[in-house]
């Protein structure tokens, strides 16, 4: 009887812990994976003398869409992968955002009404709840995102939004004693495949 009770205790605890564990993709959800190499995340920075853009093609992530249309997306990009075609500028960027301490930019997004459409191609425009973790700081945004379903297995998400460098505790880099503007534009072009 004691052995039976111990087994039941262990089994019940294990089941409860598995329920309490971090949520993975919801049961029955359609799962899509980002096509790394086809997807990009670009930052846009303005200095008084010129504009700078850096693009990363090492975007990885997944999306899950439940049958009732609730979508969850999680994307991660290594900070060191951003390339502005200027090695000095890229190195300065890594210094400013402390790439060694905070090696990734992480983005999570959720929205309702994102069930795959009946006909293709089709574009769904929705405002998503987005959480961006960058330089160790987490902030929430409402971002309009266009999702184009090319076919039942491929969706392309495009979004543009702006963040504040100082809001993310990033020391604004300077050139010739002039600092860049605080506003950092972000453009995402994410290709999801089933």
């Amino acid at each position: 009887m004691r052995r039976f009770a111990a087994v039941v205790t262990a089994t019940t605890a294990t089941l409860a812990l598995s329920v309490a564990a971090h949520a993975q993709a919801p049961a029955g959800a359609t799962q899509l994976t980002i096509a790394t190499g086809e997807s990009t995340l670009t930052y846009h920075l303005i200095h008084k003398m010129h504009k700078v853009s850096g693009t990363s093609k090492k975007v990885e992530g997944r999306a899950a869409i439940t049958p009732d249309g609730k979508a969850q997306v999680m994307v991660r990009v290594p900070v060191e992968s951003f390339d502005s075609d200027n090695s000095n500028r890229d190195a300065h960027m890594k210094e400013s955002v402390e790439a060694a301490r905070y090696p990734t930019v992480e983005l999570k997004a959720v929205a309702d009404g994102m069930a795959p459409p009946a006909t293709f191609p089709s574009t769904v425009k929705k405002t998503w709840k987005v959480q961006l973790v960058f330089h160790g700081v987490k902030q929430l945004f409402d971002v309009p995102i266009d999702v184009t379903w090319k076919d039942a297995n491929t969706a392309v998400a495009k979004a543009d939004f702006h963040i504040s460098l100082e809001g993310y505790k990033v020391e604004r880099p300077s050139l010739l004693f002039v600092k860049v503007e605080d506003d950092l534009g972000l453009s995402a072009n994410l290709v999801f495949k089933r």
């Binding site: 309490a20 999680m74 500028r89 959480q131 973790v133 160790g136 945004f141």
Partner: protein, 249 residues
């Protein structure tokens, strides 16, 4: 498990009949753990919106005015599709490496700030040197009065511009490089090439200047002086191209 959750376990266990002590306690433990799991995500969502960096520095709670209006925190975002395995040793190694890099980054920033300051100073001094050198050339060989009054100031500014140019170069080369840079044909490379050409011009002129002065009264002094002047303008043009590269692109 905190004291509140332990209390829940005890309350649930005590309300059950003693006849089911063992089995009921097992179920109570499971239910309590499930309650903990359901409570934790909501607590995480309601807690600070900011993640703590490795050094524990608190992050700001309010967004900057230019950012999009943030919405209220929500447990909807409490999911993770990446199965990262946490390794305390690896995390400690990362922190130590980041701390070491931070020190190098601070040193680099200070060095490069001084590099820019000395660079601008040497550029200005070279401009004055060129003006005085041109006036000196035309005073002697261009139909001027041959007064020699620009000679000494030209010497003084040439020494000043050479010294600050040398300091600029040393600072640029000595700056630490915490994040390695791949060799690329970009503006940074162009800057280095142009400053290399300027350096060669400075060295040539440091040699030609005294030679030209020593040819006083000789027919070829004008040729040496002309070459000296041309190389001086070459140095100025190379320096101009070198810093303009960072401005234009």
């Amino acid at each position: 498990m905190n004291w509140q959750d332990q209390g829940r376990v005890d309350i649930v266990a005590r309300t059950m009949s003693p006849r089911f002590t063992h089995l009921s306690r097992a179920v109570a433990v499971g239910l309590a753990l499930a309650l903990v799991g359901a409570h934790a995500p909501a607590a995480r969502a309601q807690s600070a919106e900011t993640a703590q960096p490795a050094d524990g520095t608190p992050a700001p709670s309010a967004p900057a005015p230019s950012a999009p209006a943030p919405s209220a925190p929500s447990g909807d975002l409490d999911f993770n599709f990446f199965e990262d395995k946490k390794d305390p040793n690896a995390e400690l190694a990362t922190k130590l490496k980041a701390d070491a890099l931070d020190r190098q980054v601070r040193a680099r920033r200070k060095t490069l700030t001084a590099h820019q300051a000395f660079g601008i100073t040497s550029y200005a001094l070279l401009a004055v040197t060129l003006v005085l050198g041109t006036l000196n050339y035309y005073d002697k060989f261009g139909g001027g009065d041959y007064t020699g009054r620009y000679n000494a100031p030209h010497w003084a500014f040439s020494i000043g511009s050479s010294a600050t140019f040398l300091t600029t170069g040393v600072l640029g080369l000595a700056a630490p490089q915490p994040y390695k840079k791949p060799l690329k044909a970009d503006t940074a490379m162009f800057h280095k090439v142009m400053m290399g050409i300027a350096t060669a011009c400075f060295v040539a002129n440091i040699i030609l200047g005294p030679i030209s002065s020593s040819r006083e009264g000789k027919l070829d002094q004008r040729d040496f002086a002309g070459a000296h002047l041309g190389i001086g303008y070459g140095a100025f043009a190379a320096m101009t191209a070198g810093w303009m590269a960072f401005v234009v692109k």
